[in-house]
Amino acid sequence: MINFHGVAKEYENQTAVRDITFSIEKGEMVFLTGPSGSGKTTLLRLIYLAERPDSGSIAIAGQDVSELKESGIPLVRRHIGVVFQDFRLLDNRNVFENIALALRIRGAAEREIKSRVFDALKTVNLRHKADSWPRKLSGGEQQRIVIARAMVSDPTVLLADEPTGNLDPDTAESVVRTFKDIHAKGTTIVIATHNRDLYRNSGKRVLRLEAGMLISQEVC
């Protein structure tokens, strides 16, 4: 599903990632881990094409996206759901509209939008917050809303950047449960985290990064 081959990326002469090669199978759930600044976020940004590699190649669902034209990027992104580290919830829209946005961009019909948004909210146990404003929600609730937005369009790949970063252990556990439920439906999931509790004894593959290099891949 996701193939990196010799990928490198620099920001103003500072190496973000280098010589990264790995593959993620369709329907797999993978954790990306490593200390802060190790390149986890850059790796995710390379997958959802917010960054382009300086060298190497990236293929998603068999399509080489490294040299993809700008006009083709939105179409690739529509198959990828992203849980951003900084949430990226729009304060001038309520919860329903924030989640619906992902479907509106895809041109979904109003009736479909309504049913899918409420389904997504149900999955993250926040159906009753549909009319709330993001600012009025707790960090955990915001996090779950972002997950609902990422999954509402049934993406082939779901990426999450530090999805439990600011959450208490109980909320973090519920978020992880949500990811497992989504994964159980066959979605490929990549979670970047430095929270070991998240992947310990998960039976999932963990890719470990350090100083921009992939130093190990093992099942925990």
Partner: protein
């Protein structure tokens, strides 16, 4: 549904940034209003002078001994020219009669005249389309070269002045229209640019969620169109108000205002012109922005 959603986003933005939008709309209104007044003035000047050339005629004086049998031939040859609308023969007797009737209150002027001093003449009416000073001068020269013709008289200075005034008006009108339209486009361009920067974060999120450029651009184009159309509508209302409240009332005390023409059909296009200029400004802004 994206088209409908683009309208929703545009209307949200129009409400959210209402002061910027209102300011732009007022600026566009002012521009279009000034443009309308200029058009109104030029339209009336053009209408007032449009029929002058038709009333204008060239007088061709025939020599004293001009043989009458050649008259038809000369009339036909003048009438055959493109610029000529009609040719009428005025005998010296008819001319003298007309002179008498013109001077009926000042008959003493004609006292002492032993014989009719007026020559036979041809009154040549010109076509409206051929009223350039140069073309009339050329025609007069050609006609004067015909044998048997002593003199050709036409209002050379009047024609040249009329021609120059009209040409000057046309150039001034074009320059003012271009300047004002460019100003309006620039206002829309700047407004859309400001709105774009204000919504930068939102646009970034749209992009990351898979929005195409079209999806991002559409609300701004609609906004530009709405601001332009609103400015045009306000301009239309102001022009109608100006005419019906001020000009029509002034006509009561100053009848000259009654002669003014109000091209309402042309003014009805103001919202469309505003919309077009608004869309142009928005499109230029979006074309120049990197996103």
């Amino acid at each position: 549904m994206p088209a409908f959603y683009a309208f929703t986003l545009a209307s949200q933005s129009l409400r959210k940034d209402k002061w910027i939008n209102l300011l732009s709309m007022l600026t566009i209104f002012a521009g279009l209003f000034i443009l309308s007044i200029i058009f109104f003035i030029f339209y009336n000047i053009e209408a007032a002078t449009r029929n002058l050339p038709e009333k204008f005629s060239m007088v061709v004086y025939l020599e004293d001994n001009f043989p009458r049998e050649r008259l038809d031939q000369v009339i036909s040859s003048i009438r055959a020219r493109k610029a000529v609308s009609s040719v009428k023969f005025v005998s010296r007797e008819d001319a003298f009669k007309e002179l008498r009737s013109t001077l009926k209150n000042s008959q003493y002027v004609l006292e002492g005249l032993e014989e009719n001093p007026l020559p036979d003449s041809l009154i040549v009416k010109l076509k409206n389309t051929a009223m350039g000073a140069e073309s009339v001068r050329q025609l007069a020269e050609e006609v004067s070269r015909t044998s048997g013709i002593s003199e050709v008289d036409y209002g050379e200075k009047f024609l040249a002045t009329l021609h120059n005034v009209k040409a000057g008006m046309k150039i001034t009108g074009i320059i003012l229209t271009v300047v004002l339209c460019t100003g309006i486009v620039f206002v829309c361009y700047s407004t859309v640019k400001i709105l774009f920067f204000r919504r930068n974060e939102e646009i970034e999120t749209f992009k990351l969620l898979g929005a195409t450029k079209g999806f991002i651009r559409a609300p701004f184009i609609i906004e530009g169109a709405a601001i332009g159309a609103a400015g045009g509508l306000a301009g239309l209302a102001a022009v109608f108000l100006l005419y019906h409240v001020i000009v029509v009332r002034l006509a009561v005390s100053a009848p000259i205002f009654n002669t003014l023409l109000f091209p309402s059909g042309a003014f009805m296009l103001l919202p469309l012109i505003g919309m077009f200029l608004g869309i142009s400004g928005a499109a230029i802004a979006l074309g120049r922005l990197r996103y």
